[in-house]
């Protein structure tokens, strides 16, 4: 399947850094910020502009957890599984979210409304368990609280 990607944006991202291979990870970050994931065509373009084998670009993209090779949901939920969150019940919070959304960690709902991710530590350890929704931090979560949180976030989001 061919991605429908406006390649010109990728071109301009690469242009900012020239063909500096050192900036490969930074470029991938920016491409992902633009498209929400790393489209195939964009990767091929990066590889030819930086004169790197496509395999090497994919090697980097798959090594780092920050990169997605497929589109993610409109709302991104992330559960912190750092130690401080773990000892305060983060795995129960995750399980409750998996249950409510009907997906497992790393997956997106079929309607691409939500993606559920986990992270090993967000560094907001004093407030564990922490869940972020679209980059917004929510501390002291419990299995019961996340359900309310999800409803509230949806209402706010739709209200705009």
């Amino acid at each position: 399947m061919k991605d429908e990607v406006d390649i010109s944006k990728v071109e301009s991202i690469i242009d900012v850094y020239g063909s500096d291979r050192e900036m490969l990870i930074t470029m991938l970050h920016e491409i992902q910020a633009e498209y929400g994931y790393l489209p195939r065509d964009a990767m091929v373009l990066v590889s030819s502009r930086l004169d790197l084998p496509v395999g090497q670009v994919y090697g980097v993209a798959t090594f780092y957890k920050a990169f997605n090779l497929s589109p993610k949901g409109r709302h991104q939920i992330c559960v912190c599984l750092g130690t401080a969150c773990h000892v305060r019940g983060a795995s129960e919070v995750l399980q409750s979210l998996e249950n409510t959304l009907g997906i497992r960690r790393g997956e997106s709902t079929e309607d691409l409304e939500f993606s559920l991710e986990t992270v090993n530590c967000l560094g907001a350890c004093a407030l564990g368990p922490v869940v972020t929704i679209d980059g917004e931090y929510h501390g002291n979560m419990t299995p019961a609280k996340v359900k309310t949180l999800l409803d509230n976030h949806l209402q706010e989001g739709d209200g705009v």
Binding site: T26, L28, H29, A66, A84, V87, E92, A126, Y137, P143
Partner: protein
């Protein structure tokens, strides 16, 4: 923006900024990620609106600072000049704060911290028990300045150490000062910093690089994030001094992807430093050239390892390489490279300003100075704590941390992240420094300190770290990749009631192989959490293996929930709290749990007010 040309210009700028400070009313709001998560952004917005609405713009100034450390009590607001310390502030408290405290100088009792021992309300920050026993020489200034304003840093004495170095000290003298201070790497290894600088300085080859390792991956540790978010100029100043001493013109700061605010504030700080002539060519007319690039990580724990980090900076997969040749000789792009952790760099200006002799008066003989810990987990006062090395766990937990949450019993302290170990409650009299922790089978790591109460299962904790590292192992070397996988399988057996006693020997054998044969520190230390828990909590392992039960009630396969029909009043709270819809029952009638649906999250257990939910 001004461009400073000489060191005299910088001193002059400081004098004029100091005078400007005066005793205006200033409301300082914590703008750290932690307080923001607790509603700090709304408080800030409300303050701005209130000040504008009342036309106080010239009289009352609202400033967002970095972390105050006492994250448990966020959002934190301090009103100056009286230094009134308000905690757990909400947006609706703002009109009162402006009216009563900022304008009339009155104190609002309800917003003060109440000392749990004396029951008294405390007005000033330094009198709060959490702060009293700390020695905040590195993080103390974070809550006095705005991270986005270089003037604030300069006004409190920032970049004075750089000036001193450029004016009065040769590169060797700087290295000598660092060596005499006894500063050891705060990233966890504890390698003497001055010695590292010296090795890099004397290494052959140009250019040389200095790197700030801000890939703070240890779960439970966030002092580096707070330093970068709250006081980025201190890190830049440390790196500038290092660059001068080592002879480098290019620096890198490698920040983990999960710290967006730290990255933003660093970019801002670098831009300002350039405008002020503190980065670039001929810095302060001294002839020193230095530039800094921020590199954003990709979410890989292993990149905290120095050689993996350097591969990542080069735009490659972050895989470590053997260190037969040390990175100070051949690091980034095969050039001599000096890498230090954020907190280490942050110590440098203080050592130059106050001198090595003064620095050595703090801490222990072999570990001078302070250490910043993030004290988190099942403790009352969570937050960032800076104490002299040699402070005991007991002092930290009870004097500063206010004891264990919910009046529970302390079981263990996990320190050092996934490379560290669990220290049992019996050993909390230990004085914390690099060597003492190593003797206990743990390590300093970056200073994440997770306090665990009696409801924590130590086998589960061991399994947690093994699963963590299994995911994060880069897979390059077999002992780490396969060893962790096998350890994970064994621990899964034990935590699900299928374990056998001989598996404990197998775990120890695997641990030895991984320690001796892994390529990098990730694999070499990966077994520490398993080994330390077997060493101190063998009984608990045996309970899982022979008794087929989890004494702490954590391992899901070994527990189940049920409702006591005698005690259940049929109030329905548990059914509403259940995220799996596993609880049913008519109003006023005893409820029941459908074990097929139950996900064992414990929501019903914590919600029930009548002790009717039983965990066995």
């Amino acid at each position: 923006m001004r461009c400073l040309l000489s060191t005299e210009d910088l001193s002059e700028a400081r004098r004029s900024l100091e005078e400007k400070g005066g005793d205006r009313v200033r409301i300082m709001v914590c703008g750290d990620t932690g307080c923001l998560a607790l509603g700090g952004a709304e408080v800030r917005r409300a303050l701005d609106e209130e000040v504008q609405k009342r036309g106080l713009a010239g009289r009352v100034e609202v400033l967002s600072t970095g972390c105050h450390g006492f994250c448990e009590r966020g959002p934190i607001v301090v009103v100056k000049p009286q230094d009134v310390f308000y905690q757990r502030v909400k947006a609706e408290d703002v009109p009162r704060i402006v009216e009563l405290t900022a304008l009339r100088g009155e104190v609002i009792d309800e917003l003060l911290y109440v000392d749990p021992r004396s029951g008294e309300r405390v007005v000033q920050e330094e009198k709060v028990d959490f702060y009293r026993s700390q020695k905040r020489i590195i993080i103390g200034e974070i809550d006095r300045i705005r991270p986005g304003e270089i003037e604030d840093y300069i006004a409190i004495g920032g970049y004075a150490a750089l000036v001193r170095v450029l004016e009065e000290m040769g590169p060797e003298e700087v290295i000598d000062e660092l060596k005499r201070s006894g500063l050891r790497g705060r990233g966890g290894g504890g390698f003497p910093t001055g010695r590292k600088w010296e090795l890099c300085r004397s290494a052959a080859g140009q250019p040389k690089y200095v790197i700030c390792n801000a890939d703070e991956g240890d779960p439970g540790a966030y002092m580096d994030r707070s330093l970068l978010e709250g006081n980025p100029h201190r890190i830049l100043e440390g790196m500038l001094i290092g660059a001068y001493a080592i002879g480098s013109e290019q620096g890198y700061i490698y920040v983990r992807n999960e710290y967006p605010l730290a990255i933003e504030n660093l970019h801002m700080a670098i831009k300002q430093a350039k405008e002020w002539g503190l980065l670039g060519n001929d810095i302060l007319g001294s002839g020193l050239n230095f530039r800094v690039k921020v590199v954003r990580g990709g979410g890989a724990f292993v990149c905290g390892e120095s050689t993996a980090l350097m591969a990542s900076v080069e735009g490659k997969r972050g895989e470590p390489r053997p260190k037969h040749v040390h990175t100070v000789e051949s690091g980034l792009w095969n050039h001599p490279t000096n890498l230090n952790n954020v907190e280490t760099w942050a110590n440098v200006p203080t050592i130059i300003n106050r001198g090595a002799e003064w620095y050595r008066t703090i801490g222990t003989e072999n570990s001078p100075g302070t250490k910043i810990f993030s004290m988190v987990g099942n403790i009352n006062n969570t937050g960032l704590v800076e104490v002299p090395m040699g402070t005991t766990f007991d002092q930290m937990i009870y004097e500063i941390g206010g004891g264990i949450r919910g009046g529970k019993r302390l079981k263990a302290i996990q320190i050092g992240g996934p490379s560290g170990g669990c220290i049992p409650a019996e050993l909390t009299g230990t004085k914390i420094d690099f060597d003492a922790l190593r003797e206990l089978g743990s390590m300093m790591g970056s200073g994440g300190m997770i306090v665990m109460d009696e409801d924590t299962c130590m086998v589960d904790i061991a399994r947690y770290f093994v699963e963590f590292l299994k995911e994060e192992s880069c897979g390059k070397c077999t002992p780490c990749r396969e060893g962790l996988y096998q350890m994970g399988e064994i621990l899964r057996d034990i935590t699900s009631g299928r374990g056998e006693e001989r598996q404990l020997d197998l775990l120890q054998e695997l641990a030895r192989v991984m320690r001796d044969a892994s390529l990098c520190a990730l694999g070499q230390t990966a077994a520490n959490p398993v080994m330390s828990t077997i060493r101190y909590f063998r009984d608990e392992y045996m309970e899982h293996i022979t008794g087929k039960r989890c004494p702490a009630g954590i391992c899901r396969d070994l527990i189940s929930y049920s409702i006591d029909p005698e005690k259940c009043t049929g109030c329905g709270r548990c059914a509403r709290a259940c995220p799996a819809d596993a609880i049913s029952g008519g109003k006023g009638e005893p409820h029941e749990i459908d074990l097929a649906k139950c996900i064992k999250c414990g929501s019903c257990y914590t919600t029930c007010k009548f002790d009717a939910v039983m965990k066995v």
